[in-house]
């Protein structure tokens, strides 16, 4: 019953379209950035035309270097999030959460958890609705790592592992507890299943 359905889909990104949309975007971003190199001429022309208005004409060299540096900078900037993917970092190995299954279809959760959490947080904070199905607190209770007892203390912990891989920055843990509360901290004594990514 603990079929590795949970994360088996996290294969190499292109073959598993439903495996974390973020990963795919990052990979696309990487190719897109590389692509711009070839078309360097086009923004160049554009800049030249703009140059006619901006009149940095006194320093023609400055204009050229500025253009090159700006392009390189922009490329580096867009490439940062995809570094992990490009560098061929191993796909994250995630621990299986507590319990039999996630609160919803895993593929659905994987794709939509940011929206679900966001929707839930607004309802909770602003309206006082305290359902638990999509609550971050419940995520933490099930997915806290066996070693650290946290979802975000080490690189292997549930949230961090995947988000590091996808290069998506998280600020949830600036404020939210990464460990379940005392009462919930007693583990369920479920076997912890290490799951392997597609790199194996």
């Amino acid at each position: 019953m603990n079929a590795p359905e949970n994360l088996a889909t996290l294969g190499s990104p292109p073959e598993h379209p439903q495996g974390a949309g973020r990963v795919r975007n990052a990979a696309e971003a990487a190719t897109a950035t590389l692509g711009t190199k070839k078309h360097l001429g086009r923004p160049g022309v554009l800049l030249q035309r703009m140059n006619g208005m901006a009149r940095v004409a006194n320093l023609p060299d400055l204009g050229k270097w500025f253009r090159i540096v700006a392009c390189l900078g922009a490329m580096a900037f867009t490439a940062i999030p995809s570094m992990q993917v490009v560098a061929g970092v191993d796909l994250p190995k995630l621990e299986h959460g507590k319990g039999d299954k996630c609160v919803d279809d895993v593929a659905f959760i994987r794709r939509h958890h940011p929206d679900l959490l966001k929707h839930h947080r607004d309802e909770t904070v602003r309206l006082g609705i305290r359902t638990t199905k999509y609550s971050l607190k419940k995520c933490v209770e099930c997915h806290a790592g066996s070693k650290t007892g946290s979802v975000a203390s080490s690189k292997e912990d549930f949230c961090v592992a995947c988000h590091r891989y996808a290069g998506a920055k998280l600020d949830c843990w600036d404020c939210h507890a990464t460990k379940p509360g005392k009462q919930a901290a007693v583990p369920d004594a479920k076997p912890v299943l290490p799951l392997h990514g597609g790199s194996k």
Binding site: A54, R55, V56, A57, N58, D171
Partner: protein
């Protein structure tokens, strides 16, 4: 159009230009360093705390923002009242306004606790909040003044410069009112809760903005080995004197109303008599350096000929220093004085109720504050170099006598 819009002013002085740029750059880098450090370690590293929540960065920021709207005043006099001397200075005045506003807003943003959420601030407006209104005013200010600059610099749009100038004039009045109201709306604090806050800020903005304008203008002229016409200089000096005098008058009225109508005796006693640094800054900084001294300098009739320092530069510099002191007294002094929870009672607690709060600005606050000035400075230096902002009076450089006043 090329040579109309931009002249490489002071052609050969590239080294000096890059030195100035470097100076501004260092200030900006300092602010960025402070920003990233605070972003990582939090505001523990600053002298700001739960009592003094707005510190030195806010003093500089509000000063710059207020002067920004004042700097635009020169352009307004030009297009709204059709004074030719001022019309010639409208582009410089508009550019300065944008540079100062950028500097001020830059500091405000760099000091936020969660600057990464700025996008939230830009997309979620709480229309009850005067602060949110300020953001709208600031953004609009950029757009309108930018448009105004375009109409001034492009021949074909000349026709539009007057209506747009009007719009800019009223917009800036709104902006300064809103900035002043940030404090006026704080009902709870003895030092802020006054309807006079907004008009006082407007009149002060006139003085600070014009002062900065005069300093920048004088620097530009001397950079190009030109001397500004004496009559123009005298005219601006007179105007500055009027604004500084009016600011002083408002300061007096403000404190008198606090004393006699609002019955804020304790607060007034604090600021005027026994507030330590705040009392000193008020009397020495705001009143003497910021008003009395420049006023006397402005009214002195100097003999013709060359003087080492021109009073038309010195006086505005004093006004700027006094302005910063005034902001410090208003913003920090207003917080240092404890809130009144129970009138007629003495309060004490672990949360510093009832005591005058101490504020010791740390290095990061200084870096942030100077960085704001650095942003405004750098933008000005670059803009002045790249575009033709030198007021195009009918000057004859060769014939002009070097004469300071």
């Amino acid at each position: 159009m090329a040579h109309e819009v931009c002249v490489n002013q002071g052609g050969g002085r590239t080294v000096e230009f890059f030195a100035l740029l470097g100076l501004g750059g260092v200030l900006i880098l300092g602010a960025l360093f402070a920003f990233f450090t605070l972003e990582h370690h939090g505001h523990v590293l600053t002298g700001m705390n739960n009592q003094i929540v707005w510190g030195l960065p806010h003093v500089v920021a509000v000063f710059l923002i207020v002067s920004a709207s004042g700097a635009l005043n020169v352009a307004s006099i030009g297009s709204v009242f059709g004074k030719d001397v001022y019309k010639k200075r409208a582009p410089l005045s508009g550019m300065l306004a944008l540079a100062l506003l950028s500097g001020g807003l830059g500091v405000l943003v760099l000091d936020l606790g969660r600057p990464d959420r700025l996008i939230v601030a830009m997309t979620h407006y709480n229309f009850h909040s005067i602060f949110a209104w300020n953001m709208i005013f600031y953004n609009g200010f950029f757009a309108i003044v930018g448009l105004y600059l375009v109409t001034l610099m492009e021949r074909k749009l000349k026709y539009w410069s007057r209506p747009v100038g009007f719009l800019a004039f009223f917009w800036r009045l709104g902006l300064t009112t809103a900035t002043g109201s940030i404090f006026g709306f704080i009902v709870a604090r003895a030092g802020y809760n006054s309807a006079l806050m907004a008009p006082m800020f407007i009149i002060m903005s006139f003085a600070y903005g014009l002062a900065i304008f005069m300093v920048v203008q004088a620097s530009m002229y001397s950079w190009n080995d030109l001397t500004l016409d004496l009559t123009i200089r005298r005219r601006m000096k007179k105007l500055l004197a009027v604004f500084v005098g009016a600011s002083l008058y408002f300061t007096v009225v403000f404190h008198l109303t606090n004393l006699y109508f609002a019955k804020q005796w304790d607060y007034e006693q604090f600021i005027l008599l026994d507030g330590g640094i705040f009392t000193v800054l008020f009397w020495v900084g705001q009143v003497f350096i910021g008003a009395v001294l420049p006023l006397s300098l402005l009214f002195i009739n100097r003999s013709q000929g060359e003087h080492l320092v021109s009073f038309s530069v010195l006086a505005p510099l004093f006004v700027v220093v006094g302005g910063l002191c005034q902001m410090y007294v208003t913003i920090v002094g207003g917080q240092a004085y404890p809130l009144t929870l129970f009138p007629g009672h003495e309060v004490r607690s672990s949360f510093y109720d009832g005591v005058v709060h101490a504020y010791h600005p740390g290095i990061y606050e200084w870096l942030l504050g100077l960085g704001g000035i650095g942003i405004a400075f750098t933008l000005t230096v670059v803009a002045v170099r790249v575009f033709k902002f030198l007021p195009q009076d009918d000057f004859k450089p060769v014939l002009m006598r070097r004469s300071t006043d």
